[in-house]
Chain length 348, copies 2
């Protein structure tokens, strides 16, 4: 008796649909025997918006909520198109889903696979996870423009942080560390952002005794970038706020061999809403439709989805196949579908 | 007839006094013949605070305001000392001075000197300047904690950005680019921080036509970290907000061979208040008083001070001497005073 896995697929824009197709191809093979996959495609993104005027309506959101999980490609059209200015798609679709589905854990693992070149001369062992808060902080959209367009304009951005929101992601991060190398690093900027910083630090201090095996340290976000560039092996699990996590994980992706390899999961660990996985990279409109994009990040994101759906063996098989593929082929350029085919073949 | 250069010296804590002594040693030799230097030392920092209870009183601030410029070492005591929690010294002294003396340009050049190893395997030509806004954004201290210590606590941080504050730093950055390789990159997060982001972008768009020779582009802060790690030669001048600038310049320092080499100037280009230069590094209490710190960053900061004081020839001599010193000695460990002596000797 196999279980069902009911997926929503949002390929999105640019290279999103191409890499998502490969992720699905691999996922299907990986779970064969364990689960029956059903797939519903949702045509969302910049292109859809320009054609229909809709970014994400309530009915679609309701429909998405019914699935077990969401496989997300990438969204974003031509950045010079004024109709797409101000991140309207990123906020109206990607961030909207993260907030609506309470994806409070944005999980972003980084590792440097054998066969992959890092931009660092001497990277050492790179194997850490960033647990980025996903539903609050500077991402809440609070703020405004006052006296807009005048020489006296004032624009504000309000970062909102709650004990509730921080505690749940901090607990998740501690649990990750307890299952890994027992080390958690809080990254913030407590010497400047004193209000939010003090709250983050106090939550970490309060939860720490429950995870006695885990060693906790703290780094200012600026110092954390130095360590990522000079000594990434010092990190096991990083827990940090939404914006710092955004910045650190792009840098981490670069250090782990590039955003073509960086996976992420927008998780609702409570299971009240579907989780959503996505490669860290964007839609790269310049190379879209040319089978040039590396689908590895999307494929590794599918593995996160399977972990989250209690199919850890299938997830492990995908990761092993990806590692074997990278070890053999490194980062030599291949067609998008070639990479997916090669990884799927290893799973058969 | 030589002019006078009336300096305030704030050595500060940890390695601050050691590196500042070398910077002064070199500065004195560099300006000999051009200016007569007077020096007034101000005993400020964590140690002073713990001994006296004073961080920076009004009388001291008034006295500092009378000088031509301030040479600043580093501040910050033992981070585990609860009496120093929450960045009380950093905010009460360093940030207080930046705000009180309207240091709206925080100028942070990065270059990879011949003889210096970068953590990057293939750094290419690294030579760019970050023009970081210094008096607003998330650094204003606005925000608070509500229902503190309860499960319902909310902590906010308000980033305040003004057209006035952005325009003056953007103009400065354009002028820098016009005097360099004609390329300006605005770094922000306009797809998420839409209010502040739109204001930054609109100011850059408005000022750009006045600097027709300068090519302008834009990067999200997360993407900027990737380029810093993979292709730093794409940058000439970066203009960005206070917090993004803080983060990017630590990463930039790492890429340029380490924070032992990274100089900075907190500038009030209008001249209404004294400018203040400081190495980007902190007080490093763990190696304080052992003559282990590299004073090169402090010495290069002194060169920024001389530029700003209309002594560009003396500044250029210091930079040339530092480059010659690095080319000969690389980053081999030397005593703090040895480095200062060697650079001063080249200037004689
Ligand atoms: C597209 C953008 C809104 C998004 C973010 O800032 O979270 C992206 O950079 C990411 O990291 O997933
Ligand atoms: C010490 C701290 C307040 C300061 C800052 O955040 O500006 C430092 O990191 C810097 O970059 O000068």
């Amino acid at each position: 008796m196999t279980r069902t896995l009911d997926l929503a697929i949002i390929g999105g824009d640019g290279i999103g649909p191409e890499v998502t197709a490969e992720a699905l191809k691999v996922l299907r093979v990986a779970v064969a025997g364990d689960a029956t996959v059903t797939e519903t495609a949702y045509p969302l993104g910049a292109e859809h918006y320009l054609a229909t005027g809709e970014i994400l309506d309530e009915a679609t959101l309701e429909a998405l909520a019914q699935h077990d999980a969401i496989l997300f490609g990438a969204v974003g059209g031509d950045p010079r198109d004024p109709r797409l200015a101000g991140g309207i798609i990123e906020r109206g679709l990607l961030l909207k889903l993260r907030f609506a589905f309470d994806h409070y854990v944005n999980l972003r693992p980084t590792f440097l696979a054998p066969g992959i070149a890092s931009p660092l001369a001497d990277p050492g062992s790179v194997d850490f996870v960033v647990v980025r808060e996903g539903t609050e902080g500077p991402y809440v959209g609070n703020g405004g423009r006052f006296r807009q367009g005048t020489p006296h304009e004032v624009a504000t951005e309000v970062s909102i942080n709650t004990a509730f929101g921080i505690e749940r992601v901090v607990r998740f991060a501690f649990a990750q560390a307890a299952a890994r190398r027992q080390k958690l690093t809080l990254v913030h900027k407590t010497n400047v952002l004193v209000h939010a910083g003090a709250l983050w630090q106090s939550v970490v201090d309060r939860v720490a005794p429950e995870f006695a095996s885990v060693t906790v340290d703290y780094l200012h976000v600026d110092a954390a970038t130095i360590f990522l560039a000079t000594d990434p092996s010092r990190f096991d699990v990083i827990v940090t706020d939404n914006l710092f996590g955004d910045i650190l994980t792009d840098l981490a992706a670069a250090i782990g061999g590039g955003i073509g390899l960086a996976a992420s999961g927008n998780l609702n660990p409570d299971g009240a809403f579907p989780s959503m996985v996505e490669p860290v990279h964007g839609s790269a409109p310049d190379i879209a439709g040319q089978q040039k994009a590396d689908p590895t990040a999307a494929i590794l994101s599918a593995a996160i989805l399977l972990d989250q759906q209690a199919l850890p063996d299938a997830a492990a098989r995908i990761r092993a196949a990806v590692l074997a593929d990278l070890a053999e082929r490194g980062s030599a350029p291949r067609r998008t579908s070639e990479v997916g085919d090669a990884i799927a073949a290893r799973l058969r």
